[in-house]
């Protein structure tokens, strides 16, 4: 397993991954990159995320 992936894992706090696990991290990350490449980057400024925060009031 390349030192690059060991370094990546360490930067992510995944210091206990074995060589087999690092190969999994590489495959999984490369697969996720394909999904990320498909994502549009030119959404309208007004496009909101799907999470809505609501303030909470426990005083009543």
């Amino acid at each position: 397993m390349s030192e690059d992936w060991r370094r990546t894992a360490n930067e992510l706090g995944l210091e206990r991954l074995t060589d087999e696990h690092l190969a999994q991290l590489q495959r999984a990350t490369e697969g996720m990159r394909r999904h990320l490449q498909r994502m549009p980057r030119d959404l309208p400024l007004s496009a909101e995320p799907a999470h809505i925060f609501r303030a909470k009031d426990d005083s009543q």
Partner: protein, 466 residues
């Protein structure tokens, strides 16, 4: 025994209410069947016979005293083992949670128990509802009763296998990227992912908070409607729970589809992805049948399947990593290989990319809403192929993208999978019906019309039917 094994909830409830079927004898018969056959299918992680028989005795006494609670009273059910039952381990089929005894019942568990259901035990799942089938976990993976050499679909694998095997008439599954509907498709049973927020998620191990759904799995549409009726409702303790009125899901089941506008999302299975020819034939036969039953058929277009898949996978991976990061850092060796690899996919997703995916999600939701504007319900594929072999790693991997379930986790719409025939090799085929948000009753209405006009749900695995 097989007569009792394949009773529907509707049939069992009528017999129990009329005191022609004893809940205790019914429960004993199913426990014996599980004891006899489950070593072939591994549907259960833990059977709880003492609890089941105690509940069955209580139900029998109450019904004898004239206190019938409803159609689940005295009827056995089982739960995917990521759902809490007080005093029983919720293992998530993982070494990591092997000793995780639940302190209280999940609200969905409490609702089934309050309805008088008889809890048989906890069911196999893919590890943490994401990685499977796996042979490197403390429990073996579930196997398909139609052919044990084949995949059940997942992650609610034990729920699908147990229903097809006649171990129980009702089960709960969960569905973040299709995990109720995948085993429903491959095991030839019926599974509903209701609208996001319709069923409480509290007390259920999370996979991805914004896409997790808990839902009913049964052998028939009518049973499924009865079970959702028990599960649906607002839970103030679940921040995503919807405070929307609960419809009568059984009220329209006999109304047929005459005059309904049924949209066909054909590009999902014959364009964006090319489904197996036998699966396409089953879908087209269903569309033709709906037309013959009087529905108006319209083809509709949504964004490409691959857009929903990418958006859903980014969100799922990022949210799941947030749940699992600590364990992946401290004890990565305690995961099975399949779950570990899928969970590591979220490790390198940046915060901006995750937020961008949540913005994309609303664009996709809005596009789907526009496409559904002039229809009542839609039909499309669930799985693109019959069940592959459980030891075919390449085919298993392809099941993650050769499916049309993720779109409705992204949009949150209700989606029901029902049996639609068999492949030449005797494996189940399926269709998926999709509705407007909180229009589960309409989805069930269309599903019941299809079910009444076919006989797929009355067929059972040949090796077990005798």
């Amino acid at each position: 025994m097989s007569e009792l094994a394949y009773l529907t909830i509707v049939e069992a409830a009528a017999l129990i209410r009329a005191r022609k079927l004893s809940p205790v004898e019914y429960t004993r018969a199913l426990l014996e069947r599980i004891e006899r056959y489950d070593s072939r299918f591994n549907a259960f992680i833990k059977v709880t016979p003492e609890t089941a028989l105690a509940a069955a005795k209580m139900a029998e006494g109450e019904i004898a005293a004239g206190r019938w609670r409803g159609p689940l009273h005295g009827v056995p059910f089982a739960l995917k083992d990521i759902i809490d039952v007080a005093g029983v381990a919720t293992t998530a089929h993982s070494k990591i949670l092997a000793d995780n005894i639940a302190a209280s019942d999940a609200p969905v568990t409490a609702r089934l128990l309050a309805a008088g259901g008889v809890p048989l035990g906890k069911l196999s799942t893919h590890e943490f509802a994401i990685g499977g089938p796996s042979f490197d976990l403390p429990w073996p993976p579930a196997r398909n009763p139609w052919n044990p050499a084949h995949f059940t679909g997942g992650s609610s694998s034990g729920s699908g296998a147990g229903l097809a095997a006649g171990f129980f008439p009702a089960a709960l599954g969960t569905d973040t990227g299709g995990s109720i509907r995948n085993p429903a498709s491959l095991c030839g049973i019926t599974g509903m992912k209701a609208t996001y927020g319709r069923v409480s998620r509290r007390g259920v191990a999370p996979l991805a908070f914004s896409m997790d759904h808990i839902g009913p799995m049964t052998r028939t549409v009518r049973d499924n409607a009865l079970l959702l009726q028990i599960l649906a409702g607002h839970d103030p303790g679940d921040p995503a729970s919807a405070d929307e009125p609960v419809a009568d899901y059984s009220a329209d089941l006999g109304r047929g589809v005459k005059g309904l506008r049924i949209g066909v999302i054909r590009h999902f299975y014959n364009g964006d992805v090319s489904a197996d020819p036998e699966q396409i034939a089953a879908l087209e036969a269903a569309v033709k049948l709906f037309a013959e039953l009087g529905a108006e058929i319209r083809e509709i277009r949504l964004p490409p399947l691959q857009d929903f898949s990418a958006c859903g996978q980014i969100m799922l991976a990022a949210e799941a990593y947030a749940v699992h990061a600590r364990w992946l850092k401290e004890r990565p060796q305690d995961y099975g290989a399949r779950a570990r690899e899928r969970l590591l996919a979220g490790a390198a997703i940046g915060a901006a990319d995750f937020i961008q995916a949540t913005r994309w999600r609303l664009q996709l939701r809005d596009a789907a809403a526009a496409a559904f504007r002039d229809i009542d319900v839609a039909v499309t594929a669930s799985s693109m192929d019959p069940a592959c072999r459980i030891d075919d790693a390449e085919a298993l991997l392809s099941t993650y993208w050769r499916q049309a379930r993720m779109p409705f986790n992204v949009t949150g719409q209700p989606a029901l999978v029902i049996p639609a025939g068999f492949s030449g090799s005797g494996l189940p085929l399926s269709i998926q019906l999709v509705g407007h948000p909180f229009a589960e009753a309409m989805v069930y209405r269309a599903g019941a019309a299809y079910e009444d006009a076919t006989d797929w749900t009355r067929q059972h695995p040949p090796a077990l039917a005798a």
